[in-house]
Symmetry: C2
Subunit: 343 residues, 2 copies
């Protein structure tokens, strides 16, 4: 446990000032003679010099780190987002703190606080709190903030939105196009804008076609566990198929839920899609690994992460920060879980 070597140590060894050492080792464009430069580099190499970024960052008042706050890295959707974020962060020389808020407002605020204290340059957040005080403080502290997934109407925050409503609309329209008229929507608690958006879009499409919406909502509060989503899907499918007029197609608010729906249908001896069609939402990878491959609405998770980080990095660079929001568009991923009732 040797004390770590500093620029001063190297300065002594090289018989130069620490300023010169710093200039060399920090790749400053400040002129230093080749002779000294090589000598210093050599010594640094020999003694295994490792710069202490704490000192540098304190001095320059700038850390090359950002934070990402998401409900849970276990959720395939968010892990794809995080992967995208990290990819461009790495390319740009940033390191990223990953924070799982577990959908707990207190935890979320706690993490925001920590990010401030650790002096991150930016935060990418999927926020679920209703009280945005902490978040406003973040912005006041000159930390760049980008909201993803969950809409966040606060001044000074750029958004990467996803058009959930249009996604819901497209899904219902797609099912209608396949000849379905009795289309159910299975959703977890409608307590978040994204969920409401999908539902609204679905209802729009049903109304537009003169069809009666059939929404089944799981009211107990959600957790962060993929299996919970799966089980919720089973329960909702149960309820819907026990209804007086069961649907011929079930549209689920996310893919994991759709997996549960399919599971329950099969348990009842129903075939997907020949007996009942199922459609998901999100487009996670495993959707194409199950049987039947899940037709779903693609929400570009990985790309969303990359884009968010790209915007963040740009913001940290440009002095004049052009604020703008991006709205990503949904796309139907046509696979094999929907039956065509036409002809």
């Amino acid at each position: 446990m040797s004390k770590s070597v500093t620029v001063h140590d190297i300065a002594k060894l090289a018989n130069v000032s620490s300023a010169t050492v710093s200039r060399v080792l920090s790749n400053s464009d400040y002129p230093v003679s080749e002779k000294l430069r090589t000598r210093i580099l050599q010594i640094a190499e020999e003694v295994n010099y490792v710069p202490n970024l704490l000192g540098k960052q304190l001095k320059k008042n700038s850390t090359m780190t950002i934070g990402i706050i998401i409900p849970s890295i276990i959720n395939p959707f968010y892990s794809a987002v995080a992967f995208g974020v990290e990819e461009v962060a790495r390319q740009e020389g940033f390191t990223v703190f990953t924070c799982n808020s577990l959908q707990d407002p207190e935890l979320e605020d706690e993490y925001i606080q920590t990010m401030m204290e650790k002096q991150v340059k930016g935060v990418i957040i999927s926020s679920i709190t209703t009280n945005k005080e902490k978040l406003k403080r973040l912005i006041k502290m000159n930390v760049n903030v980008i909201a993803i997934d969950q809409k966040l109407d606060e001044e000074g925050i750029s958004q990467i939105e996803f058009d959930h409503r249009k996604g819901g609309f497209l899904a219902a329209k797609y099912l209608q196009g396949k000849g379905h008229t009795r289309i159910g929507y299975a959703t977890t608690k409608l307590n978040r804008p994204s969920r409401k958006g999908i539902c609204l879009g679905y209802v729009d499409a049903m109304n537009e076609a003169g069809l009666e919406p059939f929404v089944e909502e799981y009211r107990s509060d959600e957790t962060v566990n993929p299996i919970f989503e799966f089980e919720t899907g089973r329960e909702l499918a149960r309820r819907m198929m026990d209804a007086e007029r069961p649907p011929t197609a079930i549209f689920a608010c996310n893919d994991l839920l759709a997996f549960g729906v399919i599971h329950e249908l099969r348990a009842r001896g129903l075939q997907v899609p020949s007996d009942v069609s199922v459609m998901g939402f999100d487009g996670i990878d495993v959707g194409q690994m199950i049987h039947p491959p899940l037709t779903t609405v693609k929400q570009p998770d990985y790309e969303m992460g990359k884009m968010a980080c790209r915007m963040l990095v740009d913001m940290t660079r440009g002095e004049d920060k052009p604020m703008f929001n991006v709205t990503l568009q949904p796309k139907v991923l046509e696979r094999q879980s929907v039956r065509d009732l036409n002809g």
Copy 2:
């Protein structure tokens, strides 16, 4: 973009010294009169004081941050590990840098370097490089290191191992117990100890039973993409079923691969498990969401993450660091993808 407020600012406002302010705001046990304490706390509150951890950490030469280096957060197995790590880190007041090495030795070394420079207290790593020089430097720098998943025989590194070999053995034995004699093992490239371990265990069990091993290896180098694993599974299943004596049971080196195997079998009109049985390895959550629910060998991912972080935290505390390794034991998760050929 107001300059952030420091202990000195507060000191001025309260007409006290910055030392006193620091003592109060850092919850020091150094005695400060109640009068001053409350006044300082009040002012800090009013001016929205946010401590700059950079200064504190530089001074104390200790950051409450750790790093986790894994191949890819997109892989459900590693995201579960990361989730576990983050959970206990949070409880213990640590923040975690998440790093995806993408199985690239250079990237891995780069991240190790960054972790050193950022002065993390510990690193949890699933290392795939053969050259462990950088890692040794880490240890010399007094950073605690815990190896997970991939074995790492270096002095000063604690390991959380998983008994892959026994896992492979158990799987083969399980299939044998169900009456299977022609059991194939489908694996990605056998270039990592963990994969070799599973294979060895499988071969052990086959030999022990006087059965002929049947290993099909995908030789091209793997990537980090779950879909790649899936496709690999399809390809391997194709090869195995095209063999002269196709197996009645296929054991895959991970669950995603098993998904691909099942997919390919179905594409050939074969039912799982009535025609061919399939067994996976890892026990990721989605395994129970597909059809049929996948029988597999559980590798305790989440618990592994928690345990690794717990050990790490303990190491950062205790002055005398008791080094020890943990070997987690495999367990067969009996679900419905294996047919019982007996009676």
